[in-house]
């Protein structure tokens, strides 16, 4: 089931530009790790390097170690595609496939990989993923409708269901609520609470309250200035980071006195 991810000495590059430097961080299994920090400090880049989505961008590469379950994700014999099946991802903006129905969106991870399923199997996967994503009751009567016909918050939960249907070990979320209203946000935060019993969750957020509410561990990233690489300033249990951080920069950022 859920796995721990150990990152050590990780540098992240876009071509010759070093975006993130020297990050060492452990993301424990069955817990929520929140990544916070000012815009441009490399939270998304870091998150995307955890499931090898970073290298999809031309010229992008990383140096350092990311270890899950005793195996280096960047070892030469590791297939990035298989890594992504183990480590799912939810994006800032909901991106359901517009040509597919709600049910087909949930099944996308299986179908697009050429897996054959009979009706019963497919129906079961759809129901299980949608129940887990807390969306089943809202859409169970219109599974054949296009995924894009849902509201923004529902679409985001559909994307979570889509990620869960692949049965990953880890779920990465990049500002999953930033495009959503408070009610949908609450729905997704509740969902994160239940999901962490089964998954390792890493979430990027700009919302301090959200980080405080949902996460067990918080990691604060910062950058010294424009054009300089981002660094991990400190990480620790969320209550500690929010009450007595070691680094004054962390305190300044969390209390809103920043820059």
């Amino acid at each position: 089931m859920a796995k721990t991810i150990d990152v050590s000495d990780l540098d992240i590059y876009y071509g010759s530009f070093k975006a993130v430097e020297d990050v060492t961080l452990t993301m424990a299994s069955r817990s929520v790790t929140a990544l916070i920090g000012p815009s441009g400090c490399g939270k998304s880049s870091f998150l995307r390097s955890l499931n090898r989505m970073h290298e999809v961008i031309p010229g992008a590469r990383v140096e350092g170690k990311v270890i899950m379950d005793g195996r280096g994700l960047y070892d030469v014999d590791v297939d990035p595609v298989l890594v992504r099946r183990d480590i799912g991802m939810v994006f800032q903006r909901p991106n359901p496939f517009p040509t597919m129905s709600i049910a087909d969106n949930v099944l996308a991870g299986k179908r697009l990989n050429g897996k054959r399923m009979n009706r019963a199997e497919a129906a079961e996967i759809v129901e299980r993923a949608l129940v887990s994503a807390n969306l089943w009751n809202e859409v169970k009567d219109r599974l054949r409708k296009p995924g894009a016909s849902l509201s923004g918050g529902q679409q985001q939960r559909l994307c979570i269901a889509r990620a869960l249907a692949v049965e990953p070990q880890v779920l990465l979320m990049d500002e999953p609520c930033s495009a959503l209203d408070p009610i949908s946000t609450t729905a997704i935060e509740d969902l994160i609470h239940t999901l962490k019993e089964r998954y390792t969750i890493v979430i990027v957020t700009h919302n301090m309250q959200q980080a405080a509410r949902v996460s067990d561990t918080t990691a604060f990233f910062n950058l010294a200035g424009a054009g300089r690489p981002g660094h991990l300033i400190e990480s620790g249990s969320t209550p500690k980071i929010f009450s007595t951080p070691d680094n004054p920069a962390t305190e300044a950022y969390i209390s809103g006195r920043f820059g």
Binding site: V56, V83, R111, N113
Partner: protein, 361 residues
């Protein structure tokens, strides 16, 4: 529909630039009334002067309408409304002028071509026909085969090139391909025809004529259109969808085929239809590659093959004795071509309508 004469709403925060307190409201029928008045006026003037010319009448009526309605708007609703009126009339006139040649072209082709239409015309070839009678069956068959073969050649090549350019191409190779496609778009069709002819001379010797040579010539013209259209459509697919698929652990080629191509499919099909419509009426390249014949040939790999545009050209160039049936057949063929092009455009529209993702249904 011409002038914007909507009455301002009661709680108008930005009152129209009406002078003083007299805010006179036009009714919705005002432009129609003015148009009617102008028409009557123009007719009256022409009637009195005894100068009868429909084009002049329309022009005069339109001019009267423009001046009258602008003057009226200016006095009743102020300068801004008058400017709006002038702009609206200019835009509408430009549209009418653009439509005019198209409408009259269709009218002429239908007028001359429709009399040729009968069952005989569509089911007989010109084999041993002298004078009246005969039909275009052989040319229809030829056009079907040649165009279909051209599509079979150019769609895979064009589509795959577009996929390469958008999804895989980086660096000098992609730049070179883009440049070549641009150049190919501008190749004169007769050059494509001569090239295809020269190519097939290599295999089958001097004087060779075949449907397949015609198809190759047409595909030279079609490929750049297909590449361009598909490229545009593939670029429109949002990057987030590709990333969404990658994040599910889907391999790149599967993502391209099942997400990117699937999402772009309606646009690509439309582009292909329009490319077919574009080449179906090509004459010069087919004249030198497929040649012409009076009989039906359904083997694209040997002997001459008649096609609709070449048939129209031939019937017009050497209509026979007496010439009238030949001319009539030429016009009939022109009408058939026009209908084919319209049907292809219609299919393209329907494709967009039925296959495009519909968010709110």
């Amino acid at each position: 529909m011409a002038t914007q004469t909507e009455p301002p709403p009661a709680t108008d925060v930005w009152p129209t630039a009406s002078r003083g307190s007299s805010r006179v409201r036009h009714s919705h029928h005002a432009p129609t009334v003015i148009l009617g008045a102008s028409a009557v006026l123009a007719a009256g003037v022409l009637g009195l002067s005894g100068w009868v010319d429909p084009v002049g009448a329309v022009a005069l009526g339109w001019l009267t309408f423009a001046i009258l309605s602008t003057a009226l708007t200016a006095t009743l609703r102020g300068r801004r409304a008058a400017k709006n009126n002038v702009a609206t009339i200019l835009v509408t006139s430009a549209f009418a002028l653009a439509i005019l040649p198209l409408a009259s072209l269709m009218w002429v082709v239908i007028e001359h071509g429709a009399p040729a239409f009968n069952a005989h015309f569509f089911t007989y070839s010109m084999r041993s026909v002298v004078g009246a009678g005969g039909g275009i069956y052989h040319a229809i068959i030829g056009t079907l085969y040649v165009t279909a073969a051209a599509a079979v050649i150019s769609v895979p090549i064009g589509l795959l090139s577009a996929v390469y350019l958008v999804e895989y191409g980086r660096g000098p190779m992609a730049k070179a391909l883009t440049f070549l496609v641009d150049v190919m778009t501008g190749i004169p069709s007769i050059v494509a025809g001569l090239f295809a002819y020269a190519l097939f001379v290599l295999f089958w010797g001097e004087g060779t004529r075949s449907g397949i040579a015609g198809a190759v010539a047409l595909s030279l013209l079609m490929i750049p259109i297909v590449v361009r259209a598909s490229e545009e459509m593939l670029k429109l697919v949002p990057h987030e969808l590709r990333e969404g698929a990658y994040a599910l652990g889907v391999r790149k080629w599967r993502t391209v085929v099942q997400v990117v191509l699937r999402t772009a499919a309606p646009g690509i099909i439309t582009g292909i239809m329009l490319a077919v419509a574009r080449v179906v009426g090509e004459t010069a390249p087919l004249l030198v590659t497929a040649g012409y014949t009076d009989s039906t040939n359904s083997d694209i790999f040997s002997r001459q093959m008649m096609t609709l545009p070449v048939f129209a050209y031939q019937s017009f160039k050497s209509p026979g004795v007496p010439p009238e049936p030949g001319y009539e057949r030429a016009w009939g063929t022109a009408l058939v071509l026009l209908i084919i092009v319209m049907v292809l455009n219609l299919i393209a529209r329907l494709c967009t309508y039925f296959f495009a993702p519909k968010p709110n249904r």
